[in-house]
Amino acid sequence: MWEPREPVRQGGLIRYVHDGEYHCYNPDVIAALQTAVRSGDYAHYERYASLVNQRPIATLRDLLRANPVGPAVPLDEVEPIENILPRFDSAGMSLGALSPEAHEALAIAMNRLGARSNSGEGGEDPARYNSERVSKIKQVASGRFGVTAEYLVNAEVIQIKIAQGAKPGEGGQLPGHKVTEMIAKLRYAKPGVALISPPPHHDIYSIEDLAQLIFDLKQVNPAALVSVKLVSEPGVGTIAAGVVKAYADLITISGYDGGTGASPLTSVKYAGSPWELGLSEAHQVLRANDLRHKVRLQTDGGLKTGLDVIKAAILGAESYGFGTGPMVALGCKYLRICHLNNCATGVATQNDLLRSDYFIGLPEMVMHYFRFVAEEVRILMAELGVRKLEDIIGRVSMMEQLPGETRRHGRLDLQAIISDCGIDDSQAQFCSDPHNNPFDKGELAETILEEVLPAIEAKRGGEFRFDIRNDNRSIGARLSGEIARRYGNHGMADAPMTIRLFGTAGQSFGAWNVAGVNLELEGDANDYVGKGMAAGRIVIKPPTGSRFETKDAVIIGNTCLYGATGGQLFAAGQAGERFAVRNSGATTVVEGAGDHCCEYMTEGCVVVLGRSGINFGAGMTGGFAYVLDLDRAFVDRYHHGLIDIHRINPESMEAHLHHLRSLIEEHVRHTGSAWGNELLDDFRTYLPKFWVVKPKVADLDSLIESLRAAA
């Protein structure tokens, strides 16, 4: 009933208001944590921890209590924090979202602790490789920004981010004003232009596709662990089982609480699920299927204190991700204005002044935070009567459900979370296999590497020939990885070698290709050709003597050049669906393309000498394309949102004319394409049938120039 005596309440659902909705990161919590990490005094941390651990019931774990398994043990008998710290990761937060200073401080802190920081989406400055500023976890997200062979070989863990707990199913967006010169360079994009991370990975439409991506990554960097970040949701156990069978080494179950300040308002509430649900389900399903020993299980999403770690361990996690906590340690005050680029604490901004004058974060603050958390874990372990964290992982019998504070709390039944599901005790509670090695040993790749390695080490180039079959996957990736490790993405440009292959290539042919690797395939290829290519050249042509018309036949599969940042691809035939999605630098000529060509493209040049499908250039913010439109229907097939199309006027657009012509000439030179030849022979007739396709924001006259500048 409306009561005029009472003022309308302010609510405080999204923004903290005194006496309103409880917020886990409320001003008291933030202030207490910042005091603790600045002083380095554990007594201050205890105040913070008690504010968190004794908060009104706000999460499922607040309704669970861990009971001792025996008498308390002396603290000095509990394993030291050095054993606990390596279990901590900082969550993936991109450079772009964070200021370089904050991002690096976080990396330094985690490295000094013997823990790991996560690059987040968006690449990493090579200057940070092999230094204490390196992010040991490199993220591969849907935008594939800056994902190159060199980036991947500089990782201890490669994390495939399927989704984010706080906003499952949503992509990301880096607003234009946060795309500075430096960010643009690392992401192979243009300063000032918004960058879209698509909701899905365009190379993952099934669990087999994920297995393929994991294989691609293990080929380019066999030493790395591959991690898959999943979102806590009903059924995540089944997904996790599939992911282990796809040979992931690590799984993260991400809960809804990892809300970044940059999440859109619509995903701040009622999106995602608590990690308690997903973690316990994953742990139970993996044990029931004899898979738990093969994979490390991590959880993240709102972990704040040692008590959180203890409860996560009991529910089945052996590794723990922290996002907001270390940010707050660095000075973040949870302003929730990250998307505006005006973060007054200098943490989540690219503004020079805010970064230089207002950022006060130091690696030591983050180190204090994690040491405190680890120390609290030890103290709690002592109270619980255990000496090693391993002793409580998955030990759900320690957990007891509390009645809670309200009747509704009391009606929740959490037994399913704290049940061992009757699974045999002999089933592992945590990972014991160092690596989850794929069944496919990549034998051809090893053979090629063995033969080519001397030439790489001597940097002398050469020509090599191999036969290839459709079960030889990711050919080229192994090689590119070895080169990138030694010389980086471009170090072997001056000593190129040509690998000639004959037959049908399996998936991911030429993935993560680098300079110096020129792959020439006579035959055809499956999906994902040139995925993540940084440099070098891939040529695919039909076997000599083929009789079919190249422009009418598909020669490469779906999602080729996804996330490529450079290099060239010439294919004498049609490409499948989603060609050059998220291309950010490759130049390519094909003779036809399926639907969604050039979606989310940010840089590079795509020439389609034949029909292309619908939705061309959706979300395309950079680069450009030349499309031959013989049936005059392209105008109905391109996406009118961000791009426009132009005819090439031979008088006023000479540069485009020459550029297009020279690309077709190159295509013909490499592939011998008869259709290419015909176009050149009658260039005057065909020229008016081409469109230049470019983002609306780009200037027609400077396209070619900026392509050269980016290369």
């Binding site: 005029p4 949870y334 929730r336």
Partner: protein, 469 residues
């Protein structure tokens, strides 16, 4: 969203113009000017609208600061005044004399950046301007409950209680021993911080809301407390603390040594053309003056002495500047007006034969932290010296001054003499006698206007609950 996200960088923090020190010491008017609409709007626009509004969190009454800043930026003055009054009964007064640098502005995210939003000045602007333009609290929809509450003390606590009760349809009668409302607002706090016409305007507003004032009435002397219990459904006590804390050193009773509050009250009364017999006017013109104590009361004394024309004014404080309890802003203002600060000096004795001639002090340094977390000063042996002076004002604060009739009515006290309220079987701010509620300095010990306001408001809510409305 028309707002420019980097406005806080481009528009620096600004306060309203302040009169130059050499001019302002010639009178007792407020030293700060006021914002105009444009200034208020652009200063308000510096607010980042944090997800965690630290200002609001730190504010004892939890003002909806970011919300009214936004309204001011958008030019919606009346809406802002309405919202400002939803959490604060005396916003124009708090805007003037709250120690914002320790509360909202000190917590403002931008305080660590390039200067907090000038929240206090905007708060003052909102109500001053809105009242000028005719805005009044709208009680037209409030139905009278028929309940009546008696309030003892027209200080901030009593006024706040009366305000909230009126908004709940409960009529109140406020009794005060003095001839004007306001308590320390009128009699203690000098007018260069708070001009008395501001309190008078507030009195009109409250009367317009149906609050009745019965002044020059000392409960327990010219009217019995028992009669209040008979006449009203509940009683609220907001009587303040008026026991002066002594230094406890020799010479405190010498002529020329004055207590801070009587000194200030007498001076204020002269300004008000009123007289209060127990407080003789002390004129320090052409005298050398030493004020002992570094709190806000001390600051008011030094600045009053300056305005009286003292030949020199020094403030002696036993800790260092960083550890002064008073508002930074007031220390700054005092310095500008010519006050000399002697830090790390512990007074030992007031010297003089038949009147004061000097103060013996010893140098201190800060030792380890005491139970309150503040570092205790320790004397440095052999550093005694005598500071010559003609007058000394002792400003060591106040302790509880419970009335002798409290016990008769079951109004329980804590060991320090403050009134005991709340607890598990009591409503917030309810005394041991369920019908009687109390708040402000007499409950918390001498504190701030804004905390007294908070308790008055909370007590009013408890009273409403107690009365079942």
């Amino acid at each position: 969203m028309s707002k420019h996200p980097l406005q806080f960088l481009e528009v620096p923090r600004r306060d309203p113009e302040k009169d130059a020190a050499d001019v302002r010491i010639l009178h007792y008017d407020e030293i700060y000017g006021s914002f105009d609409a444009a200034d208020a709007g652009s200063q308000a626009g510096r607010c980042l609208d944090c997800g965690n509004p630290y200002c609001e969190w730190k504010c004892p009454v939890h003002n909806y600061i970011p919300d009214w800043l936004k309204l001011i930026e958008e030019g919606d003055l009346f809406q802002a005044a309405e919202l400002s009054h939803q959490t604060n009964s005396l916003p124009e007064i708090c805007g003037r004399i709250c120690p914002q640098d320790r509360l909202c502005e000190g917590a403002c995210t931008l305080d660590d950046a390039n200067g907090a939003v000038s929240i206090g000045s905007i708060e003052k602007y909102i109500t001053d301007e809105a009242l000028k333009l005719g805005w009044r609290p709208d009680l037209s929809r409030i139905v009278d409950t028929g309940k009546r509450v008696g309030i003892v003390g027209a200080g901030p606590a009593g006024l706040a209680a009366a305000d909230v009760l009126a908004r709940k349809g409960i009529r109140s009668v406020v009794f005060d021993a003095h001839g004007e409302i306001g308590g320390l607002l009128t009699y203690g706090i000098p007018s260069f911080k708070l001009e008395k016409k501001v309190v008078r305007t507030r009195r009109e507003i409250l009367q317009g809301m149906g609050v009745e004032f019965v002044l020059n009435t000392h409960i327990g002397e010219n009217k019995s407390f028992l009669s209040l219990l008979d006449e009203f459904d509940a009683v609220f006590l907001g009587m303040g603390t008026y026991n002066y804390i002594k230094g406890g050193f020799p010479g405190e009773n010498l002529p020329g040594v004055h207590e801070a509050l009587p000194y200030l009250i007498a001076n204020n009364c002269r300004e008000l053309n009123a007289s209060l017999p127990p407080f003789p006017y002390v004129d320090l013109a052409d005298k050398r003056v030493i004020v002992l104590g570094g709190g806000d009361t001390g600051m008011d004394c030094v600045r009053t002495a300056i305005r009286q024309g003292a030949s020199s004014v020094s403030c002696v404080y036993r800790r260092d500047e960083a550890n002064m309890p008073g508002s930074r802003r007031e220390v700054e203002n005092s310095k500008e007006e010519g006050v000399r600060f002697l830090f790390n000096q512990q007074p030992l004795e007031i010297i003089g034969r038949d009147r004061v001639s000097g103060v013996k002090v010893i140098q201190t340094r800060l030792g380890s932290a005491g139970t309150d977390g503040r570092r205790r000063p320790e004397n440095v042996v052999g550093t005694e010296k005598i500071l010559p002076t003609d007058a000394v004002i002792v400003a060591f604060g106040f302790s509880a001054s419970p009335a002798n009739w409290f016990a008769d009515f079951d109004i329980g006290l804590r060991s320090n003499g403050l009134v005991k309220v709340g607890g598990s079987d009591r409503l917030p701010l309810q005394t041991m006698n369920p019908m009687i509620f109390a708040g402000g300095d007499m409950v918390r010990g001498s504190d701030l206007v804004v905390t007294a306001v908070f308790e008055g408001r909370e007590a009013a809510a408890s009273i409403a609950q107690y009365l079942g409305v």
